[in-house]
Amino acid sequence: MKLPKEIVDVLKIKEPDDLIVYLTTSSVDGKCNIIPSLFTDVYDDEFILIPDLFAVKTKINLNENRIGVVTIAYPSEGKKWALRGPCGHIEWGVPDNYSFQGIRAGDVLRKWGDWEEREPFTSLPEDIRPAVIAQRGVIVLKVAECYSYEPEESGRKIS
């Protein structure tokens, strides 16, 4: 689905510590894993991109069960959204023409494969900055549905 402009604007690269999201994945037999990310961007208004910085268990899950959920963690006022859909990872080394849900690995890696060029990690506060930057690739989630996580209306679809 194409994301509403309001959601695209929130997830697009701006400042390094302006938004924190969670990415939740699951093994094929239902064991969830949830990791935070300080970095997100949006491609073609429907793909959420997150740099792969040591996302070990997330990738194990995505290798066997290609679905994920992104939720806005902070700041969440007026942004209580959960975005769910097919999710995979495009690693350095895959062929340029490898495709995930319609986007080419070469296109993603050329633009987001060195995330720090677009969003400098050094501007993060020292206590939350990764000690070592070793980006392995890019995690890609194609948003298929968006629902509210506001408690009283949790699960309500947002078009």
């Binding site: 969830c32 996302a55 902070y74």
Partner: protein, 136 residues
């Protein structure tokens, strides 16, 4: 058995958690609760709205395994992930935590903490964070 530290308790109680659930075939659903109550060493209780219960009831019945990430600023300031077994009693989600991981981006990501001696977990926290919970 996992044992939560005072810092973990304070962040969970103060800002709640994003709660990852899934069907037994791995289709995930996340709900978010903005506070919690920690009891004993490893029991975390969340009060859910009716809509949240409806959203995860089937998942919890068929697959009680859940993952918790601290809410709000805790997502990055309290870089923990808690995994455990959940059950619903009315609108209360009761999670028995049995695994605790570090989620700080970088080489410590996915480090399992609950297998360390409790004193080592406290030392790990003290050498990385100065706070003992969310800002007042």
């Amino acid at each position: 058995m996992a044992k939560l530290t005072p810092r973990m308790r304070n962040w969970l109680e103060g800002l709640g958690a994003h709660i990852g659930t899934a069907t037994k075939k791995g289709f995930p659903t996340v709900i978010v609760v903005d506070s919690a109550k920690v009891e004993g060493d490893n029991i975390v209780k969340f009060q859910l709205a009716d809509a949240q219960v409806e959203q995860i009831k089937q998942n919890i019945e068929e697959n009680p395994r859940v993952a918790l990430g601290p809410g709000g600023l805790g997502s990055i300031r309290a870089a923990y992930q808690f995994k455990g077994s959940a059950r619903l009693e009315g609108n209360t989600l009761i999670v028995e935590v049995n695994e605790i991981y570090c989620t700080k981006p970088g080489p410590e990501a996915a480090l399992r903490l609950d297998v360390l001696p409790y004193e080592s977990i406290i030392k790990f926290e003290n050498t990385r964070w100065r706070d003992t919970g969310p800002p007042k």
